[in-house]
Symmetry: C5
Subunit: 95 residues, 5 copies
């Protein structure tokens, strides 16, 4: 999984692959220090994430392993909201 920050939303029409009704959020990738990687992805939200939330994004076929994304044409999904990150002594985050 990778870290990300919710920065926007996408509205799409004429959707296929059972994506109708799912929220599509724009997530800015973050490294382990929660600094931006400069890359964004469009992700299906399965946790009711809000703007600016630090989230966990799961990619590939594993993105379909949630109740909301089963059988869905989603190549990644937000599967958790990050509460805290502790990496050594210098990097830490608490929501």
């Amino acid at each position: 999984m990778q870290f990300g920050r919710v920065i926007g939303q996408v509205i799409a029409t004429q959707k296929t692959g059972k994506t109708t009704g799912l929220r599509l959020l724009i997530v800015e990738g973050l490294d382990e220090s929660l600094q931006s990687t400069g890359k964004c992805i469009t992700s299906v939200d399965t946790v009711n994430a809000r703007h600016d939330d630090i989230v966990l994004v799961c990619s590939s076929s594993s993105a379909r392993m949630t109740a909301q994304t089963k059988g869905v044409a989603a190549d990644n999904a937000i599967v958790g909201i990050v509460e805290s990150v502790s990496a050594g002594k210098k990097n830490s985050y608490r929501r």
Copy 2:
């Protein structure tokens, strides 16, 4: 998923993997500001996308989760037409 813009079409013969009859479009990758990433992919169209449409492309095995691509040798597919994008205040798009 990633954003893309439809810029062309591919005709192929001697196709295998149940791709016969499917439209193959050339999609220019776009970032979250809908600026070109400089990379293009060839994608199966499942939404009747037109030239210049801003679309959502789904990759990997999830590309097979539409009625048209089930069991098909497609490693990515156009699964939606983007209606609007809102990322913070500065980036926005409305079809």
Copy 3:
């Protein structure tokens, strides 16, 4: 899918994963203008591609969605021969 040009062949022995009997070709990656990307892959041929043919290569689990590659340890496969490419006005190819 991505474009490629057939530039060579690989003979392997002691193969596992039901790849015995399948042709393995070396494919030079091409961009949407059919210019070399500088990257080559070894691909299972499912369309009887010939040397110099412009082909479509399908990656990941979708490469197993052909009659020849079902259940085979192939992470990509040639699934079509490109007849024509039209991207805007400047890029076009006809076989």
Copy 4:
């Protein structure tokens, strides 16, 4: 698989995809000489790895092939603790 070093831990709430109860560790990628690649990933732990352990990380759908990650929304998992690495004469590691 790739090598990594456990450098931290992530606590997430509102998790979906059956990830509840699983340990999420931050793993710094290592090359074959066990030097840092500069890239970190968040990985599900299936071997009770400890801080500073050199581990093996498995990606993509294969990450779900353990008892703990079956059907779980995990795109990678720690599946082994490295005991020794021998690459030629110059690179070697013993735990």
Copy 5:
């Protein structure tokens, strides 16, 4: 698939995902001219490859399509030993 050269071995303990008993080899990636790409991966051996052998490595879920790797947490596997490579006139290899 990609080419590689066997350059070392990994011993891991506390393995999960049915990898117990499988040989894990370090494989240096090679391009189509069999020159090093500078990247190594750790791969499950299914062909009894020896040190310095030129091998074919299969990635992603297709790595599980061998008798030895079925249901195993292996994201890539050595599935063949390269006997010869012919790419145009200038690149050729015979074991």
